[in-house]
Each structure stands twice: as C-alpha cells, then as structure tokens.
C-alpha cells in the first residue's frame, strides 16, 4: 500500500495529499464518498470521474500541454507527479506575473483546446508557474472532451475575468498562437459576454425589462 501522505488541498469533491510513489515526489487526488448521496450513484460518480479525469490528463499530455504526469489510477485515486512552483493567482495578487507567464498560460489553454479538452475551471488558481516562467495546468476535475466552442469560450472567459486588459492581451496572444480555431472561440466569447443571463449574473447592473 502507498502512504497517503499529508493533506495539501481540499475541494468540494476531492482531497489532495502529498506523497511519494516509486521513489518520486507525487500527489494523490482522492475522490471522497458523499454520505448524502445514494450509495450506487456515489460509487458510480466517483469512479467514472476518476477514470475520466485521468484519461483527459493523458490526452492533454499527449497534445503537448504541461500537465502533471499520471502515475497510477485506482478506483477513486489518481497519483500524479508533483509540480513545484508558484501559484499564478499568488503572482497576480503580488503583481509580479511576467508577460511570458501570461503568454504561456494562453499557449497551454490553446494546446488543450486543440485536443478538444475544455478545462472547466481555467483560473489562475489552477496554474502553477515554474521559475523559468513556464505554466503548468492542474485540476482536471471539471474537464471534458468536447468540440463545443461555448465550453472553450467559457475557459477563456474565466481567465479573462481574473486579468486586467494588458495581461489579457498577453494571454490571448499565446492562445491565438497555439490554437488554429482561436478566432471562432474568441468571437463566441464576445457573444457569451453580451448574453443577458451572464450579464445579470455577473454584472447585475440595470433594471429589468418591462412586461
């Protein structure tokens, strides 16, 4: 049996522990059982999502994206290589993020989208920056294989919301350079941003239409 190690992070559906596997530093993501949920449904969701997440990480890796290497997949656990570096969210908070990093974060998303992977939660909290400015993407818990321009546009939107205009330009440059259909996604993004539902949900300005 592998040592579970120390708790590193806790999300709504999983806990992440630091551990070692076959002699290297690793992390293990364990999907938790939910006591509120019907037991068969719970078992099904946990195992299907674990399998799907591991599979998508493999596809991302094959597409040349910088993601942790999947080392071992168990029923509810994914063991993966440990990425050390700074959280992009932290660098943004301190305002010390470089243009190279921003561009890399766009390049990486472009590589994912080229492989028809929508990340589902592409925010600076899920990007680790190495000392050489390279960006690594983590947490594929909400990722899906899809050709949907909408899903891809939402990945870009989440990132755009976390960046200022100049930072977004650097990010978008990287994205355009690594994904040939970037133009379609960005024009879809403009539509998503203009859409009423997202307007009321994110900006919540104005008065309602009169009936």
């Amino acid at each position: 049996m592998v040592n579970r190690g120390t708790l590193m992070a806790e999300g709504a559906e999983a806990k992440v522990y630091l551990t070692r596997l076959i002699g290297i530093d690793a992390v293990v993501k364990r999907r938790l059982s939910k006591r509120y949920r019907e037991e068969h449904l719970d078992a099904k969701l946990r195992s299907e999502r674990t399998k799907s997440e591991a599979r998508i990480m493999w596809i991302a890796r094959e597409a040349g994206a910088s993601v942790p290497i999947v080392l071992l997949v168990d029923t509810h656990d994914i063991y993966m290589s440990r990425i050390t570096g700074a959280w992009m969210a932290e660098l943004l908070r301190k305002d010390i993020v470089t243009d190279e990093t921003l561009e890399h974060s766009g390049t990486e998303l472009g590589l994912l989208h080229s492989a028809d992977i929508a990340h589902g939660d592409y925010t600076p909290a899920n990007i680790i920056v190495k000392p050489n400015d390279a960006a690594f993407i983590i947490d594929f818990g909400l990722a899906e294989i899809t050709q949907s321009t909408e899903a891809k546009a939402i990945d870009v939107l989440l990132m755009k919301r976390s960046l200022n205009a100049a930072q977004y330009l650097a990010f978008a440059r990287g994205y355009r350079n690594s994904y040939k259909d970037a133009k379609d996604v960005l024009s879809r993004l403009a539509k998503v941003e203009a859409r009423g539902r997202y307007k009321t949900r994110t900006l919540m300005t104005g008065s309602e239409a009169t009936a």
């Binding site: 709504a12 019907e38 949900r201």
Partner: protein
C-alpha cells in the same frame, strides 16, 4: 399599521397581512390541478373568482381594518402572466383606493425572506427549489446589496420535472410528493447526471426516466430519478457552500418540503459545520404573507418605488436588498 401582500404567480391565490415582521394572517386558495397540468387562463379565471374572498379573509383574520393598511405588495414575477396579472390588478385597486404605496415583489425573494426571518439567519446560502425555479443564492454587496445567483437550472425547475414525470407515470395527484411516495423501497438504476460547475439541468433526466417506464418498474424509476435529481442539486449546493464560505444553509420553495432532500442538505451542512434550516411547509407553499414581509421591509428601508409592472421572468438577482 400593517402591510398586505398578494401572491398569484401560479396555482395559488394568497393574501397575507404582516405587522413589524409578525404574520397576522396568511389566507390562500389553490387551483386543483387535473391531468392536463396548469392551463394559465383557467387558473387566472379561478383567481378572479376567488381574489376578493381570499383578500377579505386575510384582512378579517388579521383583525385589522382596511384603514390600517399602510402599503400593499404583490408578486411581479416570475410566474404565469395571466395569473400574475390578477394579483397585480387586485393590489393596484386596493392601493389606489386606500391611497397607500404599492410594492412589486419578486416571488423568489418572498420565499427567501420569510424563511430567513423565521430562523433569524443573517447571511445564509439559499437553495430555492420549486416548480418553476431552482437556484442557489446568497447575499453579495457588489455592485449593490443583492442575492447573487451562484448556480441555477439551465432548463426547467426541479419541481416541474418531477410533476411532469408524475403525469407521464399516471400518478394522481401528479406531484413530486407522489413520486417520493412510490419511490419508497426502490432500487437504483442508471440515470443521466448533469451538473456543470454550480449549474444543473433536468430535461435530459426527465426524458430518460419517462422512456424507462416502458421497461423498468415504476418504483425503481421513481427512486432513481429522485435520488439522482436531488444528488445533482446537492452537489452544486455543496460546491457553492464551500466557495461562498457561508456558515448557514437555508432551503425553501415547494420542493424543500421533501424530507429526503432536507435529510441530504442536513448532512452537507453538518459536514461543513454550517447551520441548516428548511422553511416550514406553510411558507414553502406559495403564500401572500411572504410578499407582505418583503413589501414591509421595502417600505421601512425606504426602497424607491418601482413601476407597478409584472415580469414573468423577473430575476431575484436584479432586486436591490435595501434592508
């Protein structure tokens, strides 16, 4: 001095009177749903016939005189247009005759506020689940104080989904509570499961469940449908609870009457150290008192007067919470 509230967004015509937050009366009458579901014009006709009786009953039960009414609230939406119109006209008429201010009230905010008030919750994460609506909300101060929507249904309300299934399965009455009744002792069958972040969708699972009725037995389908749909809503709620960091969880709306859903939400709240409460059934059902509660808060906090409109798609996150 008291405030009168009128609710007519769907099958219920209700009138309630409150005074300083205390509920003096809460009268209502409900249109009996037959096999075809709700036909908006028929329900509106029913409301027309009963409006006067229900309002008079609320005023007399409150033990007040019409001269004691200092403001009138009505449901502006969301809801069925023809039904909303009856409540609006009744409220306008009374307010004009008494010469008192009129407050259009968002139906969802009514459910949330009467429940929040009765449990003394300051800042809960709210799961509002009813026939037409299914949303996860919490107070947010930016850009103004309002209930921010964390997640919601991308298609139909969960109650509507359960009612539709009940109708297809020939259950009488065709309601979600009847689905819960026949689900007892059922076994689990695979169902589509749709959660996207903190949003969810129900048309896929509804279509699937109706098709399954041809081959599987009703008990198992009903059980699986209910467990899966509640599981979806609960997963999104748990995610929102963690993200928002709120210490209170509140359930309201017609579907919050389900004991199984309350049990599941209770477990979630407990595992995050949050306090959980669900509205009493009297307030989960549509009612006039909740509209009066919001109208009174609006009056006392000096909300600006809105045009007396109805809006079938009125969203709770556009309402300024001035209290």
């Amino acid at each position: 001095m008291a405030v009168l509230g009128i609710e007519s967004s769907a099958h219920t015509f209700g009138a309630g009177v409150v005074e300083r937050g205390g509920i003096l009366s809460n009268s209502k009458i409900m249109y009996k749903i037959r096999s075809e579901g709700m036909v908006p014009m028929k329900v509106a006709d029913f409301h027309v016939r009963n409006a006067r009786k229900v309002i008079e009953d609320a005023i007399s039960k409150a033990g007040i005189d019409s001269g004691d009414i200092e403001a009138v609230g009505y449901t502006k939406g969301p809801g069925l247009g023809p039904c909303l119109r009856i409540g609006q006209i009744s409220a306008k008429t009374i307010a004009r005759r008494l010469g008192v201010p009129l407050f259009p009230v968002n139906h969802c905010i009514g459910h949330i506020e009467i429940t929040r008030q009765s449990f003394g919750m300051e800042d809960p994460l709210v799961l509002y689940v009813s026939g037409g609506n299914s949303q996860i909300l919490a107070l947010d101060e930016h850009p103004f104080r309002h209930f921010k929507v964390y997640g919601e249904t991308l298609d139909i309300g969960i109650g509507n989904m359960l009612d539709n299934f009940a109708r297809a399965a020939g259950l009488v009455p065709a309601w979600g509570s009847k689905v819960a009744e026949v689900a007892g002792g059922g076994g689990y069958l695979q169902m589509p499961y749709t959660v996207k972040g903190m949003d969810f969708a129900f048309t896929g699972i509804l279509t699937h469940a109706i098709k399954m009725l041809e081959t599987a037995n009703l008990k198992d389908v009903a059980y699986s449908l209910q467990e899966t749909a509640f599981g979806m809503v609960c997963e999104a709620t748990e995610r929102a609870l963690m993200l928002s960091g709120k210490a209170e969880l509140l359930a309201c709306g017609g579907v919050a009457q389900s004991s199984r859903l309350k049990e599941m939400l209770g477990i979630i709240a407990e595992s995050h150290g949050a306090r959980f409460a669900a509205a009493p059934n009297e307030f989960n059902a549509d009612n006039g008192a909740m509209i009066a509660v919001v109208a009174e808060k609006a009056l006392r906090s000096g909300s600006r007067q809105e045009p007396p409109i109805i809006n079938q798609k009125s969203r709770p996150d556009t309402v300024r919470i001035t209290w």
